[in-house]
Symmetry: C2
């Protein structure tokens, strides 16, 4: 029997508990032994819950029960979640997490503690909800030298952009609709400002390239500056606006990463990733481009990814998975400007001025263009964002 304790009975934690309680026999078959939910830690009371007897408010009860071999951390944030994760690992328990903030900021430390103690720290659910991505990168693509990872990592902003593109809603209208459907939280800052996507690209980059990248060092631009006119100019050139997280190995071996809205061509497989779906492209030397697509959030998709990690941890109590990355090193990280790019530019200037500034540009059009406004795509001109008098909007073109 493998005993499990869940920390945090929120959306994901309660989904995990539900799966463990309802599908016990199927899970036992998959993991070749019984998996038993022993504790759920939460500061709140859930008296009507079918497993109400398993609740505790005291982490030390879990910490001191040797039957608990897998601790599931779905608290979120870097406060008690960090403290409990450290204590669980130091106490010889495997930890499974859906906490992207914690993995992005403290992954190197926690993986290092896990390695020293021959334990697993698994976090498939931290990126892409239920989409398999962490395990495919660390195992299936193990024979590849990975060069680049980029993708649509946040469902809320992708829903908003999709509604702007397909139904001509403004950003504000689309955000209001996303809140109505429960796709955006009351305070959507972390989503619309790109912070959520930033944590996820940091985790993917660390996994793929072997070194932690601190979210605080990653240039992060959300979608609040994207206008309906930008969306229409993009459409005139066969492109759509998508918020991408991107990390790339540079020629000198350093890594650069950023989060920003992009114009991408309709024939890019990411262009058809719509609504709340996520899509992640991984580029390797042998495999070329591989894309993973699915629902990037939601209670049951995310919970099912956590449970897959629990099964894996239960099957590998004495055979650690090899997920590991080194501590962050500022000398090996470069800003977004290190990645050259073609740029979308919307500006109040003449076409000839634009050509003087940027060379061979491709003009875009929009029925509702403002007076004296033009928009165009530059040739590849380096990674510094173009700036000049009259420029009102700038985005990378992929």
């Amino acid at each position: 029997m493998v005993g499990v304790a869940i920390l945090g009975h929120g959306v994901v934690g309660s989904g995990v508990a539900e799966i463990l309680e309802k599908n016990a026999s199927r899970l036992a078959q998959k993991s070749m032994q019984d998996i038993e939910l022993l504790y759920v830690l939460d500061v709140r009371e859930f008296p009507d819950c079918p497993y109400a007897a398993k609740f505790t408010k005291d982490f030390s009860v879990i910490e001191n029960d040797p039957r608990v071999q897998v601790v599931v951390e779905t608290i979120g944030g870097v406060g008690v979640a960090l403290d409990f994760t450290r204590r669980a690992l130091l106490g010889g328990k495997n930890v499974v997490s859906s906490n992207k903030e914690l993995v992005a900021e403290y992954g190197a430390e926690l993986l290092s503690i896990a390695r020293e103690r021959n334990l697993n720290y698994l976090f498939e659910a931290s990126v892409g909800g239920g989409i398999p991505i962490i395990r495919p990168i660390s195992q299936c693509l193990a024979a590849n030298e990975l060069h680049e990872i980029y993708g649509i990592l946040n469902g809320t902003t992708n829903y908003i952009l999709t509604r702007m593109i397909s139904h001509g809603l403004t950003m504000e209208e689309a955000l209001a609709e996303a809140k109505q459907h429960g796709y955006a939280e009351a305070n959507p800052t972390d989503d619309v400002e790109g912070n959520d996507a930033c944590r996820k690209i940091c985790i993917l980059a660390a996994l793929a390239f072997g070194r932690q990248i601190m979210p605080s060092s990653v240039s992060t631009e959300g979608i609040t500056g994207v206008t309906l006119r930008d969306v229409r100019y993009a459409a005139s050139g066969g492109m759509v606006v998508k918020l991408l997280g991107r990390a790339k190995v540079l020629d000198n071996g350093n890594v650069s990463a950023y989060v920003a809205p992009h114009l991408i061509h309709r024939d890019n497989p990411l262009a058809s990733v719509e609504d709340v779906f996520n899509g992640i492209v991984v580029t390797g030397d042998a495999i070329g481009d591989v894309m993973f697509y699915g629902r990037g959030a939601g209670k049951m998709p995310t919970a099912s990814a956590v449970v897959a990690d629990i099964i894996d941890a239960a099957k590998h109590l004495n055979a650690r998975k090899l997920i590991f990355w080194d501590k962050a090193d500022d000398n090996k990280f470069e800003p977004a400007s290190a990645i050259p790019s073609a740029w979308y530019v919307r500006a109040k200037m003449s076409e000839s001025q634009a050509r003087e500034l940027f060379g061979e540009i491709s003009m875009l059009s929009c029925d509702e263009a403002a007076d004296g406004e033009i928009a165009f795509v530059t040739p590849e001109i380096g990674g510094e964002m173009p700036s000049a008098a009259g420029i009102e909007s700038v985005m990378r073109v992929l």
Copy 2:
């Protein structure tokens, strides 16, 4: 040290040898021990090969060398490949395979031998080339009850259809082009008749639903009946023609599977899977739809998937992965007609005749329509392929 022997020095086998020889130190790091290529079995001579000294023509040399712990079978077919795989497993060696024909037809038996002897029989490369799909299904989606799998499983036919759709080539022109580019073999029967896709959907279905399905029992239709007019009628309804393998759990718990060309809507993520790329959609109760996308064939993508399995086998010499399925059971398999469908129909009949036969149809159009010909999409009318006087072409619509 983990000793490896490669059986068959063809496209994939030589790619595997290349990776093992060139990336030894990276692989050692990933698998936490040295992986050494000890033998390459082939009936041919390769005197100029840098590892020429490792060639043997005698399988018993490999069989009797206890240093060989992983045998890589890239021979293909179900002749000596089956014999050698059985002997390797019975002799206590793990086996990694890229041989879809063998896995599709003898998977249950070989997995059963592996299980009895606590060995691994791994075959990530047998479906989707280097696209991670076997491991994600068996591990990452382990907490899901899977309902359905379908996808573009053959790159050659997808290239041909893409060229017909995007450049108006006829089937024959597109096939000739595919041969020129090396995307189709001199004898492309297995690809264009759907047999290759059939083997792959059998493997995916067995893995997802736990029971072998014999390729011989799966209704298999290739692309040879698809005409340029069909492609154009599809386009008029916002659809593209794609060859899909599909397997589905029916309401009674039985499984049905088939291979056939389909019309799919442009907003289906598979619609943008073009050229030689593959795309595989997996549907689970918790996760919903997940898609895996990438190059489904080619020397290095496929070889990199084999090497990932070698690493996995090396890391799990004493901890078997849980991949297993039962023997085929005709009583639990139903023909394609068990899956209801809307249908594309091209026929010499009047619109009113068509409405009489099929009810509320949606008409399609084509500039080059033949005299008296119409094409339309029926409502969902059951899984039996529509047949009536005048019908010239029929395809499922997904």
